[in-house]
Amino acid sequence: MDEKLPPPSPQEQQQLLERDRISRRSFLMNVGLAINGMVGVLLAVPVVAYILGPVMRRREYLTWIDLGDAAKFNPGETKLVSFRNPFTNEWDGETANIPAYVRTEAHGRYTVFAVNCAHLGCPVRWFSESQLFMCPCHGGVYYADGSRASGPPERGLFEYPTKIENGHLFIEAGQMPTLSNSAALRPCSEKSQPTLVKRIAPCPGTDEPTIG
């Protein structure tokens, strides 16, 4: 065991440091540290840009997506459809198949809802008998027109912008709707509204005459 080199004692270390405090060596060391700092910053730029890649896009992830022949949606029905998200890769598998609900009031009047609950994004389920969307997670419920009926959501279902071209129904989609992207900014259409329903639902509820 006595073959080990004894380490320098703390006093010795201190003395060595003191001796070198102002010297050519310490100057070179400081320059060396500064160079490393600069190189570090230089390298950090591409690294940070790489990490922020998904965020740094100029435009939002939105494009018009063809949902097929508009005539196949029957008036009075709400139908579950799915489309392939265009901003994906082949190896995304089935995660890139995005569902949506198409509500048809009359031919030419379509509303397309995201399946994601406006509360925390779980998939809402459509019940045609009671004309309600129900969420399995935290119990959010929406009316047929997407307005909030009860539960923890603060607002109605997210809607995709729609248009009809050459008889096909298109929606503007591509990103998961959350409260902070464009889905949240769509204003509710103003419809006449019984006061009681208006009080509990920030977006208009049903406009059928049976209420009130």
């Binding site: 579950l80 089935e94 019940f127 998961m176 049903t206």
Partner: protein, 503 residues
């Protein structure tokens, strides 16, 4: 000199590890710390090692590819020999690790171990807890099934509530516009490199400080911590009334570590691996996502928060809670350590434990969620249909068909979102029932637009029969008065004693 002794010496002359290891292992600790209460820290470390080992073994097979991960998990479960057991060990090891880390934290808090000079040990411990929870969440994502997919959707929706930069945060978390392959690979990087790397480094620092600063002595009422004298008092305690950590205290750690590992293995063997549940295909709408056990309590909290409080709560409370934990040793860094003289500390732990247990219990049967298949899967018990008129029975049909059962139970089956309706007619009159059904309110949707007048009549007639024997039906006194031409009857008792309503 035997050969092994010579080999050891050859190695030791080059490594020179004997000294530091002996110092660490044989350092004196106060006799009182050789207690069964002090085994949770070492057990956490042992579970961390278990997770690293089982995690590496799973990584031999797993591939973080969105289109393959689910199939690989199935292969691990069914084709790779004992793949199911390794998955189960890793899953149950995760549950045990969260539990033991939380117990360790509660014990350390109650024993005042966060006080001077161990403030930094506590602070690093808080980060270790957060990292452990982070590992649990990212691990749930790597089990790429429906729960993972919708768990990510919930995470993204929470981030989406951050003002101004919410949208960017969502895309940063998902690695793109939606939950897909890029999401899985970045959660893989988090779960396999970033979080465990940080966890191991911080665990090293945590243990280093435990060795350097000494294990917290058993707190005695009245023995106050003072910055000026504590170190000296502790050293006296450790040297005069102490014993070397190994084997004096370590044997209990060893027993407990073995017991915990055995418990993980038994749970793994008995309960098997977690999932995977259905494929991570968002077009499969018929799913009821659920978080893993460590996060069940959050599930409850998010369900019961009033809508308008949700965003402020989600954005303010977690940072605040972390700040409280981090600030604790600076606010209460000296003074009394014993739980006998720290009632606020004891009641805080009890309060949090009761909250956690109730929330977790609620999340096991989610009374706030509609039961999605109750309307088609839970028929009305025949007792509620006997001696009813055809119209009332038609009402029962409407009751079933319009998904009322998804939220309202009757005869003990059905959803728990709304009140049970077994005796609704004792609470609401016919007029009130009609109003409630058509206009909703009190967290019930309005059914005015989905029920035709005949359906409404039938439904309300059925609901009106729901008052158990010998319980009077609800009645509107003013109607009775109106029926008598505005003259109140001498007594209302006669109407209250029967089951029949005055019409």
């Amino acid at each position: 000199m035997p050969w092994y002794r010579r080999t050891y010496d050859w190695l030791e002359r080059r490594l020179q590890l004997e000294g530091p290891i002996k110092d660490a292992v044989l350092h004196p600790v106060p006799k009182s710390t050789a207690s069964w209460w002090y085994v949770f820290g070492s057990a956490s470390a042992v579970l961390l090692v278990l997770q690293v080992v089982t995690g590496i073994l799973l990584a031999l097979v797993y591939s973080p590819s969105a289109s393959h991960a689910w199939n690989i998990l199935q292969m691990l479960n069914h084709q790779v020999p004992l793949g199911w057991f390794l998955r189960a060990m890793h899953g149950w090891g995760s549950n045990f690790m969260v539990a033991i880390v939380v117990i360790h934290m509660a014990q350390v808090f109650l024993f005042g171990a966060y006080k001077f000079p161990r403030e930094l040990t506590w602070i690093i411990g808080v980060f270790l807890l957060l990292l452990t929870l982070g590992m649990a969440f990212t691990g749930q994502v790597l089990r790429f099934d429906q729960d993972a997919y919708w768990g990510l959707a919930i995470g993204a929706s929470i981030l989406g509530r951050v003002p101004w930069i919410g949208g960017q945060l969502v895309h940063l978390m998902l690695g793109g516009p939606i939950i897909n392959g890029a999401t899985l690979t970045r959660f893989f990087a988090l779960h396999v490199f970033i979080l465990p790397g940080t966890l191991l480094v911080l665990t090293g620092l945590h243990v280093w400080m435990v060795v350097k600063l000494g294990i917290n002595e058993w707190p005695m009422p009245g023995r106050l911590v003072r910055r000026e004298t504590y170190i000296q008092e502790y050293n006296e305690l450790a040297h005069k009334d102490g014993l070397p950590f190994f084997p004096g205290a370590a044997w209990k750690d060893a027993y407990f570590a073995a017991a915990i590992l055995l418990a993980v293995a038994l749970c793994a063997a008995y309960f098997g691996p977690y999932g995977p549940t259905g494929t991570p295909d968002p077009t499969i709408i018929n799913t009821v996502p659920k978080p893993d056990p460590p996060f069940l309590w959050i599930y409850t909290v998010l369900s019961y928060l009033p809508p308008e409080m949700e965003t402020p709560f989600l954005l303010i409370v977690p940072p605040l809670a972390i700040a409280v934990l981090l600030g604790l040793p600076f606010v209460a860094g000296v003074g009394e350590k014993s739980w006998w003289r720290r009632p606020v500390a004891v009641f805080s732990v009890m309060f949090l434990a009761v909250c956690w247990a109730s929330f977790t219990h609620l999340a096991t049967y989610t009374p706030w969620s509609p039961k999605m298949n109750a309307w088609s899967g839970a028929p009305i018990p025949t007792a509620f249909l006997e001696r009813r008129t055809p119209l009332e029975r038609q009402g029962a049909n409407v009751f079933q068909e319009k998904q009322c059962r998804n939220c309202h139970s009757i005869g003990g089956s059905g959803g728990l979102r709304g009140p049970a309706l077994d005796d609704v007619a004792t609470r609401l009159t016919e007029d009130q029932l009609i109003r409630q059904v058509l206009l909703g309110g009190g967290n019930m949707p309005a059914y005015g637009s989905t029920l035709s007048p005949p359906e409404t009549t039938a439904l309300v007639r059925f609901l009106n029969t729901l008052h158990p024997n010998y319980q009077p039906a609800a009645s509107d006194a003013s109607r009775a008065v109106a029926g008598q031409g505005g003259v109140p009857s001498a007594s209302t008792v006669e109407r209250g004693n029967g089951q029949h309503k005055t019409q």
